[in-house]
């Protein structure tokens, strides 16, 4: 992190941009970020502002990287981005610095009325620069996903040039009202819409164009549910335009970009042709076939399979018995007259009925499959969750930051391979789908492993490559880059309880997901049963980070870990070794080196010596015990031995005395 807090509510980003927390710009706020005045240290005349992101939402860092410094007439220039200490919320936050628009917002709210933009002005002031901007985004392989009149600005004071506003401070399409989202994306939860494709941006552009041409929101009176239903029943163009009068030249364009079939929807090339004056025949709305005999579910009649699938998702538990009874299959075969899908539904029901495992799970999977069969273009839906395949990452991030109970559903979706059902029903091969399918397989593997470095947290960081580490220990430091982790933990040492481990589930998962190094061995040790081995694994992980990424000294963190090494010291048997370690650890703590601390505490040679010595000592102790026991228990044997030896000694003494007496007498008599 290169930012420093400054006194007086001002922080500096990358030593250049002063963000004044005391000077908010509410007119430039977005639904997910607040705007503040920014001063450029090198060019004080430059008008800039910063958007401070909400800490609980994952910003689109990959898009920030792609768009930083890009100068495009249709795009607000993203000048700089980075993490700053933000006093109002008492933690670090992501800040994004933009050039300040001088003409204000195109529409201040979706319920406001503005002066209608004339047909000839639309092309010059809006379409030409914005299509250029979309082309720029296209070339950088990113989508905008926040195109709406309330996020468009007049860049100049004369209000001659309209630009697209911020698209990085929230997950893709998170702040988009349903009005600007295609039907499929609109059915998804806002946090699970995913990056989508350029067609989604063109759709949003078309919907925005309708509002600008009319000078108001024609569907402001409708709820999201009503609007979605109208889009499904009548098609987006009719739902949005209705019987409003629009310039004839615009109808062709609007029908093209608001087309509900993603394959038929206009591409950028079609827009270029239109801009160059070539007129194409307007696309006619293709609506799903409505049956004569409606399917009655929960007291309501449904005439299309898409509407029925939506109803099933809303009343999940009520739908299962109907599908099991075979009514849906019959309806599909006779009313919709789609034998192929009817067969697939029948097969799904048969599989569920014959499933050997938990019946409840089998039925949930069956209904998820049936919903996909009923509406193959819809998001992946499971009970209360509905997400596009590329929106799973941001969805998980939001669910976890909100600590939502839907996390359980999310986990079930991955474990029960619901995304796989969605991919299996794609009509055409898409290489992106293969990559995503492989990722979901990996996620399932990570999810089922219970230890540190795996589980839901690992999925979170694998699916959100730019998400800050969510560990409560360092959440306030907003650590996005792996090299910022150790300094953050070093700072956390000052405020953390000394008994808390510096590596929790989030930190471990963050390291494994971001640090591209072989960590399998360290993870294995980290997840062993004994506290001393867990500590060694943790130290190994952190020491490896310090070795590869620095910094050279981490006094706080080393001291923190030094205070936790009790179980490691206690794992050595030799008291002398323990005393040596207790002497050495404070010395290494003063050096601030996790690497040396790790080398000291995980010295294989010392460990083997200790173990060998301990085994020898244990054998000696056991031998001594056995001998003592033998000595204690051998009283009778010793008495018998004493009797025998005593009698032998007495006999020998007696015989020797007899021999001596005889000898003396012989000598006396002879001499």
């Amino acid at each position: 992190m290169q930012e420093d807090a400054n006194a007086g509510g001002t922080v500096v980003l990358r030593d250049r941009y002063y963000i004044h927390a005391g000077s908010p710009l509410p007119d430039l706020d977005t639904p997910s970020a607040q705007a503040f005045v920014v001063e450029d240290r090198r060019d004080s005349a430059r008008l800039l502002y910063a958007l401070i992101c909400r800490p609980d939402l994952p910003p689109r860092v990959n898009v920030m990287r792609a768009l930083k410094g890009v100068q495009n007439p249709g795009l607000q220039t993203l000048v700089e981005w980075g993490v700053v200490p933000w006093a109002p919320v008492g933690r670090n936050c992501m800040a994004v610095v933009y050039e300040r628009p001088m003409g204000g917002r195109v529409m201040t709210s979706l319920t406001a009325e503005i002066k209608r933009v004339e047909e000839h002005e639309v092309t010059r002031r809006m379409l030409t620069p914005i299509i250029g901007a979309l082309r720029e985004l296209n070339s950088r392989a990113v989508t905008h996903r926040a195109i709406r009149p309330t996020n468009m600005y007049y860049m100049d004071a004369d209000r001659e040039r309209i630009v697209l506003g911020d698209c990085v401070t929230a997950p893709p399409a998170y702040d988009q009202p349903l009005l600007f989202e295609p039907v499929e994306s609109g059915m998804s939860l806002p946090f699970g819409r995913g990056s989508g494709n350029y067609g989604d941006d063109l759709y949003a552009l078309g919907a925005s164009l309708v509002l600008l041409l009319l000078g108001r929101n024609p569907v402001a009176h409708l709820t999201d549910e009503q609007l979605l239903k109208q889009k499904i029943v009548y098609g987006s163009y009719v739902a949005l335009v209705g019987d409003q009068r629009l310039p004839i030249s615009m109808i062709e364009l609007l029908r093209g970009v608001l087309c509900d079939d993603p394959h038929e929807r206009w591409k950028l090339d079609s827009l270029d042709l239109w801009l160059s004056g070539r007129r194409l025949s307007p696309l006619q709305t293709k609506l799903e076939k409505r049956t004569q005999r409606a399917f009655v579910f929960n007291g309501k009649e449904y005439s299309t399979s898409r509407e029925l699938a939506m109803a099933f998702v809303r009343r999940w538990d009520d739908a299962i018995p109907l599908v099991l009874e075979g009514k849906l299959e019959i309806w599909m075969r006779r009313a919709i007259e789609d034998k192929e899908r009817a067969d697939q539904i029948a097969a799904a029901v048969r599989n569920a009925a014959g499933s050997p495992g938990d019946r409840r799970i089998a039925l949930d999977v069956m209904l998820a499959r049936v919903c996909i069969l009923l509406d193959p273009l819809a998001p992946i839906r499971y009970k209360g969750l509905a997400m596009m395949p590329d929106g799973f990452g941001s969805a998980l991030a939001v669910l976890m930051s909100q600590q939502s109970s839907d996390i359980r559903l999310f986990t079930e979706m991955i474990q029960r391979e619901i995304p796989k059902l969605w991919f299996e029903t794609r009509a055409a091969y898409d290489p992106d789908h293969s990559v995503m399918q492989s990722s979901f397989r990996d996620l399932k593997e990570q999810l089922v492993r219970p230890g540190l470095g795996f589980g839901l947290e690992r999925c979170l960081y694998e699916m959100n490559e730019a998400l800050a580490c969510q560990s409560p220990l360092i959440a306030q430091d907003y650590v996005v880059e792996i090299r910022d982790l150790l300094p953050a933990l070093n700072n956390a040492a000052k405020r953390a309880d000394g008994k808390t481990l510096p590596v929790d589930r989030h930190v471990a998962a963050f390291i494994v997901a971001r640090f591209k190094y072989d960590l399998e061995k360290a993870l294995t040790v980290l997840n062993e049963d004994t506290p001393d081995r867990q500590l060694v694994g943790m130290l190994s992980l952190l020491a490896l980070l310090q070795w590869r990424l620095g910094p050279e000294t981490l006094f706080g963190l080393t001291s923190w870990i030094g205070g936790l090494t009790g179980p490691i010291i206690a794992s050595f048997h030799s008291r002398e070794t323990r005393r040596m370690l207790e002497r050495e650890i404070p010395r290494l703590v003063r050096k601030g080196s996790l690497i040396e601390l790790f080398r000291l505490l995980d010295n294989t040679e010392e460990r083997q010596k200790d173990e060998y010595g301990f085994q020898q000592a244990r054998a000696q102790y056991a031998a001594a015990s056995a001998e003592i026991s033998e000595l204690d228990s051998s009283g009778e044997e010793r008495d018998a031995f004493a009797l025998r030896v005593g009698q032998q000694t007495a006999a020998l003494t007696s015989v020797l005395i007899a021999l001596a007496t005889m000898s003396i007498l012989v000598i006396m008599k002879v001499w």
């Binding site: 000592a617 244990r618 000595l631 031995f641 030896v645 005593g646 009698q647 007495a650 007498l665």
Partner: protein, 160 residues
């Protein structure tokens, strides 16, 4: 079978040889009786405690007759030598046997032998117990040193 028969034959031969020797010695002693009757009388009466000790000792080691016998012989020997060097007659032998002092000396020395036989095992036992106690002390000190160097775990039984 052949080996068994051979071993049997060898055992029989040894028994025959041992029995022969015994018979020769008994014949020699019987032949010497008329010439050494005073000595035999003195020895019989003097070594009576030894004979008694040999008869009453039912212990596994049968060392009582040796203990009593050795010192009993030491008590008898001065009078036996006196008998031999003073004419070796029955009257001299009877004089010795009818005198109280020689009997006290002969039977007293036998009593000392008996006392030795009875006293020595407890003494040896006490010495052995003392040695065992000292060994236990050494071993306990060694165990204490091991515990100090390696901790209480060193005393735990290894599982498996």
């Amino acid at each position: 079978m052949a080996a068994k028969q051979q071993a049997k034959a060898r055992g029989g031969q040894q028994r025959t040889q041992g029995g022969g020797m015994r018979w020769i010695m008994m014949l020699a002693v019987t032949a010497a009786v008329p010439f050494s009757l005073p000595t035999i009388l003195l020895l019989f009466v003097g070594l009576l405690p030894t004979l008694v000790a040999a008869l009453v000792d039912r212990g596994p080691n049968r060392y009582a007759w040796l203990c009593v016998g050795g010192l009993n012989l030491s008590g008898v020997a001065p009078f036996l030598f006196g008998l031999w060097f003073s004419g070796h007659s029955m009257s001299a032998a009877l004089d010795i046997l009818f005198d109280v002092f020689p009997l006290i000396v002969m039977y007293g020395s036998a009593a000392i032998g008996w006392l030795l036989y009875r006293a020595m095992p407890p003494v040896v036992g006490a010495l052995l117990a003392l040695r065992a106690q000292r060994r236990v002390t050494v071993l306990r000190n060694e165990q204490r040193r091991l515990v100090e160097a390696w901790g209480e775990d060193v005393a735990e039984e290894e599982v498996g």
